[in-house]
Symmetry: C2
């Protein structure tokens, strides 16, 4: 068993993404994908980039995309890093900023890729217990540490913290890098991007996968001081010079440019989320107030695992995490209004039957 594997590989416990079953057509509310298609301009740009130039390497730095993102956020271009989805960027950031022997901090209930990255980099970590209402224990982040990472809004809870709370964490942690994983930021929370010029230790990571309907294109970015961006480039260029292909670069630029489409889609999802939350409350669910494109819910009478299984049998996929404190909760991605109506009908019948 595991002959030829390195010590590192033997000790890795990889991340397991949400299931993508092919056995039948599901209403897919399990991986926080956007139910709406990407901007038609993105599709057009990709088709235009599907040309003979695919024989040539892409720009290894993706400078045009960096420029587009920099302009969008009003930052200098050297404050932008681009990569193959925010997961890859987070892996690079763990390598670039955290050291073994100096424990990093993240919440006990959060994105389950963080402990995987820690394993990859042989890092120690301490998890901070979320408050009873699943809010982030802001003051706890002010203890000594070797770095901090948390999503805002948090996953799978959907709860966000305010910019003031973020500043409290940043101003008490000037020695170490603080990574804010803003995968879900566009659904209602306030981005920490505007703090970058004040805090040279702040790295904000975002993605096209959720709010811009491009999970299938694999593009994310990190924003922070030039010095942090250089470290990410150093790690990237020690692994793979060209992480973004020509099609992803072309599509991503258009996704940033088409602000009107982006605003329309994200607002639509927020509206559907609020409606879905209200309906779930009527059915007796506890609904954690969400600022993401999903809701985190629990029923006082019917166990979450039971609901999860019954939903799946009836063609609706949601996410269930069998882990302490949240094993009676379901994470439900926000689909179209029609998706959510079907979901609500099915879940209503399930909780009625008990």
């Amino acid at each position: 068993m595991h002959t030829y594997w390195s010590k590192l590989a033997r000790n890795l416990v990889p991340y397991v993404p949400g299931e993508q079953p092919q056995d039948k057509k599901y209403i897919k509310l399990n991986t926080n994908e956007n139910p709406y298609p990407p901007s038609p301009k993105v599709i057009e740009a990709i088709k235009a980039a599907a040309n003979d130039y695919l024989k040539l390497y892409p720009d290894p730095q993706g400078q045009e995309l960096r420029a587009e993102i920099a302009e969008y956020y009003g930052l200098a271009q050297n404050k932008v890093f681009v990569g193959n989805g925010s997961d890859e960027i987070l892996a690079f950031a763990f390598m670039a900023f955290f050291d073994p022997g100096r424990p990093i901090l993240f919440p006990d209930i959060t994105y389950s890729f963080y402990p995987v990255y820690a394993g990859l980099c042989n890092l120690d970590y301490e998890t901070l217990r979320l408050n009873q209402d699943f809010s982030l224990p802001v003051k706890q982040f002010c203890r000594q540490n070797g770095g901090i990472i948390f999503p805002n809004p948090n996953a799978p809870t959907g709860k966000a913290i305010t910019l003031k709370e973020i500043e409290e964490i940043l101003s008490n942690n000037r020695e170490n890098v603080v990574i804010i994983d803003e995968a879900y930021i566009d659904f209602g929370a306030e981005s920490a991007v505007k703090l970058i010029n004040q805090y040279p230790n702040l790295l904000v990571v975002q993605t096209l996968s959720k709010s811009r309907s491009l999970a299938g294109l694999r593009v994310g970015w990190a924003l922070g001081e030039d010095n942090l961006i250089k470290a990410l480039d150093t790690v990237k260029n020690s692994i793979n010079s060209y992480t973004l292909d020509r099609l992803a670069l072309a599509g991503a630029q258009q996704a940033i440019k088409d602000e009107e489409y982006f605003q329309k889609v994200r607002k639509k999802i927020i509206t559907t989320r609020e409606k879905t939350s209200r309906e779930l409350l009527k059915l007796g669910f506890t609904v954690i107030p969400s600022q993401a494109n999903f809701v985190f819910v629990s029923h006082p009478a019917v166990p979450a695992e039971h609901i999860f299984q019954r939903l799946k049998e009836q063609g609706v996929l949601v996410r269930y995490f069998k882990q302490p404190r949240i094993d009676n909760f379901l994470r439900v991605s926000i689909g179209t209004d029609q998706d959510m109506e079907t979901f609500l009908q099915v879940i209503e019948a399930i909780v009625r039957q008990g």
Copy 2:
């Protein structure tokens, strides 16, 4: 300087890809790209995949692409790993198979990314001095080691070793993983793929970038025993679940399928390489016999660095490596017949002027 950087990041010396200057239009013979466009079927498949499904994550395992490659090579599907170009796969392989404290072996003149990966994984390495004629010192690879990697054909020399020599290395190294980097295999050397079923420690890495004209799409694969593939998957899934976007997956499948186009292009390049080699010999150049899509050449009277600069001034980019033993050589990628005619005219004038 380097505040906030991890110890790892401070010590990294990243790879520097060949330049991609934008100041004017060059005849680009510096990054071993294919001068011919990808198969029209690839372009078509990408355009078809540029659709609303980009909102959904790609298959994290790329099973359909793995199946296509497995069928092409007559291997079981669990002997195929796919990734974002062979560079990324090599980085994963260094993490998956090599351990600090057990020096790995590679040639002293070879792909300059290998020492970078070693730095990334904190590995010791020993370089084996190529023979005077730049052939691989096969017997030297039979000394004790923690793993072996070499390209076949080697880069930047273009020299290949035979399957019999590969077997000599493999049969003397049953304890450690032997990685054969076959980025240039389709231009004349014999692939070690047929040895996979005999040697559970053999990993063969290939790419779409060169022979299938898709440097801009970022797709490579590794072939080896199930056990080795599982280790690569474990590393990948600890960094990024989805390294290949939907467009790359769709295009890559067609690139493997279109055997007729592939054969036509690779044969054309071999013919042009042979013709170019003959012409360079006539001009007095030493030309290392190449089985790749480039030639490695030296002039007895005119220094390589001088030729490199003069070529660039006249719109022809080639690659010059300022390092011991090869600092009087140029690596020239094989372009179209027309590219090579222009190149030969320009270089002839340069060496005549001295």
